[in-house]
Assembly symmetry: C2
Homo-oligomer: 163 residues x 2
Amino acid sequence: MADEVLFDFLHMEMVSHVYKEQRPSKGELDSKDRATCVSILEGMGFRVGQGLIERMTRDSPSFKDELDMMKFICKDFWTQVFRKQIDNLRTNHQGTYVLQDNKFALLTQLSNGKQYLEEAPKYLAYSCGLVRGALSNLGLESVVTAEVSLMPSCKFQVVIQKL
Amino acid sequence: MADEVLFDFLHMEMVSHVYKEQRPSKGELDSKDRATCVSILEGMGFRVGQGLIERMTRDSPSFKDELDMMKFICKDFWTQVFRKQIDNLRTNHQGTYVLQDNKFALLTQLSNGKQYLEEAPKYLAYSCGLVRGALSNLGLESVVTAEVSLMPSCKFQVVIQKL
């Protein structure tokens, strides 16, 4: 029970800390400050994602193809981290994937009123990093972004970078 | 499996981030910088500890006395957070408690060579905060410190502040 929320709580503290340390003594964060925060959180997620996937795939057979890896992320990886699977995976079969989570764990603590929509991105950066780190360890370089249109549902877009 | 290490990994990233941000452009951290880092991490732990214990004790009957609360921390709380119980609890019956964990989860990732002993304190600050936060929510103000003499075993000393 507490186990479930330990990660969520720590994540919220971390987001709040990273945003606080960037804030100038008075006043609001400008867009450059925000970008710095997002980048710090994304970087943390990246390294954690690498570590997690390494453990999770230690005894797994290798993957058939890119889609097979994405399915692993949507099912096994997501369940380990967020306690549920991705609800919907779509792809254009050209390296772009959209992962939809209808009840994203790190947003459920926020009210789903519209006024919090603009707060949502800061709770997504770390998770984008997690996915990018995991894929990177599987040999796929990617760009991962997220968007929220109706809380607590969330879409992650993964674009694989072809070498 | 990954579930177990998700918290540990995030914790390590957080420690590394907090220490990095305090470091001057070149050179070592001085003792003032170190104290700032410890205090940041302790504060994060404090707030997470408050949140966790609130959930965990929601449906519990109230506690008989101070010792009863400490036992709850050693058994239920510790198991939720660190996946094992405290191995040994000692008290002078005057408000001082020593909690010994012979294999502390957040130290097992470090080599147990002597050369890492001085690195250990930064991995303990957050956990001291967790305990202080949990006790605070149970109505006990305390000072919590930790020491390591032989890795990965660790002693937490809790001194209850009488009003």
